[in-house]
């Protein structure tokens, strides 16, 4: 589903970051581990088409994303990639379910309230659907973020430090949910983290140095 080839990135005046090649098929999970400053976020942004590749290529579902730019790239990202961040931001003026439906509409899909609600129910936050984002706890926010990332059944789900802000119980739960939902949606899941608690829980690991 996703594969990288000779991916390198150079920040002006910074060290040159070289990333190992890897592949991740649909329903697979890869854990990318590394300490701060080794380029985890850079890699994630390269994979998500948030950062333009300088060298090497990223292929998602048969599309070389460095051939896309501007609005096409934004569209592609919206349709094919779901991203969960460590600290998730939402459109605070909208309700929980509206934030999920926003992801549908921005990806160019039809907004489907029932589908969004069903997903929220599956994530056990259906009762918060019409609440404001500010009324949610950290753990609940993370679930909404997961719902938002998978509502369009993307080819790839990227999770950037999805558990670092959570306690052990929530950490396990969120990881489980991510894996479950990614499988159900048929997406490839890549988790980028320095959270060593996840280390033994996922088989397929890439360690950045």
């Amino acid at each position: 589903m996703i594969s990288t080839e000779q991916l390198k990135y150079n920040y002006p005046g910074g060290p040159s970051l070289v990333f190992p090649d890897f592949r991740c098929e649909s329903k697979d999970v890869i854990l990318i581990l590394g300490t701060s400053g080794v380029g985890k976020t850079t890699l994630l942004h390269l994979l998500g088409g948030i950062l333009t590749t300088q060298q090497g290529s990223v292929n998602i579902g048969g599309t070389e994303i460095n051939t896309l730019s501007g609005a096409d790239l934004d569209k592609f990202r919206g349709k094919n990639i779901g991203i969960v961040f460590q600290q998730n931001h939402f459109v605070n003026a909208l309700t929980v379910i509206e934030n999920v439906m926003l992801a549908q509409s921005l990806a160019g899909n039809k907004t489907d309230r029932n589908k969004a609600l069903a997903l929220l129910n599956r994530l056990n936050i259906g009762n918060k659907a019409n609440k404001g984002i500010r009324d949610l706890s950290q753990g609940e926010k993370q679930r909404v973020a997961i719902a938002r990332a998978i509502i369009n059944q993307p080819k790839l789900i990227l999770a950037d430090e999805p558990t670092s802000a959570l306690d052990d119980i929530n950490c396990d739960e969120v990881l489980l949910l991510l894996e479950e939902q990614a499988k159900q949606a048929g997406s490839a899941l890549i988790i980028v983290t320095h959270d060593t608690r996840l280390k033994d829980k996922i088989e397929h690991r890439i360690i950045l140095q």
């Binding site: 948030i50 950062l51 934004d74 919206g78 939402f90 459109v91 003026a93 909208l94």
Partner: protein
Amino acid sequence: MNIVQIAWRNIISNPLNLLMSIILFGLGVGLISFLMLFNTQLKDKFDKNLAEIDLVVGAKGSPLQMILCNMYHIDNPTGNISIKNAAPLLNDAHPLIKKSIPLSLGDNFKTYRIVGTNHDIVDLYKGKLKEGTLWKNDFEVTIGKTVADATGLGLGDKFVSAHGFVEDDMAHDEHSFTVKGILDASGSVMDQLIFTNTETIWLVHEHNEKTDTKDINPAESISQHVKNESHQHDNSNKDLLHHTDQEITSVLIQYKNKTNFQALNFGRNINENTEMQAASPAIEINRLYSMMGVGTDALRILAILIAVVSALSIFISLFKSMRERKYELALLRVMGAGMLKVFALIIIEGLILAGIGFVIGSLMSHIGMEVIAKYLKADFRYSFTGWSWIREEWFILIVSLLLGFIASFIPAFQAAKTDINKTLSER
């Protein structure tokens, strides 16, 4: 969830910002639109009442006051002129004058002025009879539409006048007027006047002076005098010339040819060589405009200043909220919104703010106009209204939206070109 909805939700999720932006913007728009409304209606009133009168001749004093009194019926008369002095002006054979209309003021009924004059005044203001007839005999009146509406007077009704121009209880109760006709609404000052013949005004005042001075010599009585005259009153200027010892307030004059060289000097000759004063309505009213102009200009500058400050406040509030929503906006990009969409989102927010501000400002100006109209009606009997729309308001709407666009352009541009990689990497 389209971007207009998101923009709207963003705006109402920050009610304090919303309030400040639209109140400021509304104030600026309201003031400008009010000034336009007021000026338009005022000019309209003044212009309608110019009625192609070229010259007003009355007693010496302030020319502007004379114009305001005799053409607009706002101010008090500068005094009276004697028929003897005015005789040349009232002569039908005068080579320069097409029409001359004598006016005699002095009484009112419920603050509506009673004007002694001839029938030419109705043509001058292009008035039409709605019902009844024009005044003919002494103490017969024809009333304007506003008078009829406001006082409830109808055909055949009788009323007594009050002296001067304010309502008082010292009514001339010895004489009662009879309503013979009602004029159609003309939109001019005529609507609020009560017309009668000149002799009636004399009769009322002769009687009044007599009782005031306790002079009871019947030989001096004008009523007597008038009755003793052998001729019939026919409301003509010729008729007035028989009473050279009497006075009138003014004469409204229309020239045969406005550009005639002699006509141009006519007013000056009167001012230099007679005890009367002549003034051109157009010149005096322009003088009044330019005097008011200083005030309205100052207000307009203030209004523009407020509008600019309000645009600045929209700019600041959008810029601030754009900063605060940096992640949100980056997120929209991550979720598939193109730069153009993010740009449009902020622009739409600016336009909505300006739009609401315009609506509120317009409402304020029209309501304000309506409130002021009530006062003006009470003080001057001029009718203004807050419920008329002028074409310039479209112009204000366009400028408002333009201001909203300009105010939101920089924040929108900034938001659109924000580096989402950088924004999302910041922790």
